[in-house]
Amino acid sequence: MAKILIPTPLRQFTGGADSVEAVGATVGEVLGALTTAHPDLKKNLYNDEGKLRSFVNIYVNDEDIRYLSKEATEVAAADTVSIIPSIAGGR
């Protein structure tokens, strides 16, 4: 099972857990298992069209899935999936 690291704002939807293990061969499957187990996470990760929100970055280990195969990116049991908020701004 891959390990998913949960950022602090989303831990309220995982019962306080800072990481969750989920079964799946791809990022899409792993995140699907995560949101099935913790349904309140879904609206925070996906938009109304069912696509990952633009300000949500998903990394497998140290790689951005946008530069791999997006949600079809393969995930091994030893991999760590990180949900990273996009933080930007300015005047």
């Binding site: 690291l5 950022p7 602090t8 704002p9 800072d18 300000f55 970055n57 990394y59 140290d62 951005d64 990180s82 990273i84 908020p85 996009s86 933080i87 930007a88 701004g89 300015g90 005047r91």
Partner: protein, 141 residues
């Protein structure tokens, strides 16, 4: 309410000075007990915005992964982020509002003539439609 430690504040001030007249950015790590946040560590990040950095910043997600790892090693958590407004007041702009997540404490430092003159902290509501000022304590001397 969030209190910044002397060590963390020193990192933030030095980072804001070194980036002036551009915007600096970074990550705050600490813990929260009974509603009070204590940021004991500040991580200075590279401004990853590809454009004019005097009024924009972007935190590299890889820096966030590293901060997340460090916070877990220390038994702490990522509490929020900081950035500077060169020659502007410490306020939370529309751009800030659209690009920050709820929950986090977001410290904005006003830097004028290269020196930090003021700082305020803001939290974003769950819909990212409004921000609310959060009480901020930092070492004044």
């Amino acid at each position: 309410m969030i209190e910044i430690s002397a060590e963390a504040w020193a990192v933030m001030v030095e980072h804001a000075r070194s980036y002036y007249p551009n915007e600096c950015c970074g990550i705050l790590i600490g813990n929260e007990t009974s509603g009070k946040r204590e940021a004991s560590v500040a991580i200075a990040c590279r401004n990853a915005y590809e454009g004019v950095q005097k009024d924009r910043f972007l935190i590299d997600p890889k820096d966030q992964i590293a901060a997340e790892r460090k916070s877990r090693e220390l038994g702490l958590g990522v509490l929020g982020f900081f950035h500077s407004h060169p020659d502007e007041a410490a306020y939370f702009s529309e751009t800030d509002l659209k690009n920050h997540w709820p929950f986090y404490s977001n410290v904005v430092m006003s830097v004028r003539s290269g020196e930090v003159r003021d700082a305020k902290c803001f939290r974003v509501d769950v819909d990212q439609t409004a921000s609310e000022e959060e009480e901020l304590l930092w070492p004044k001397s």
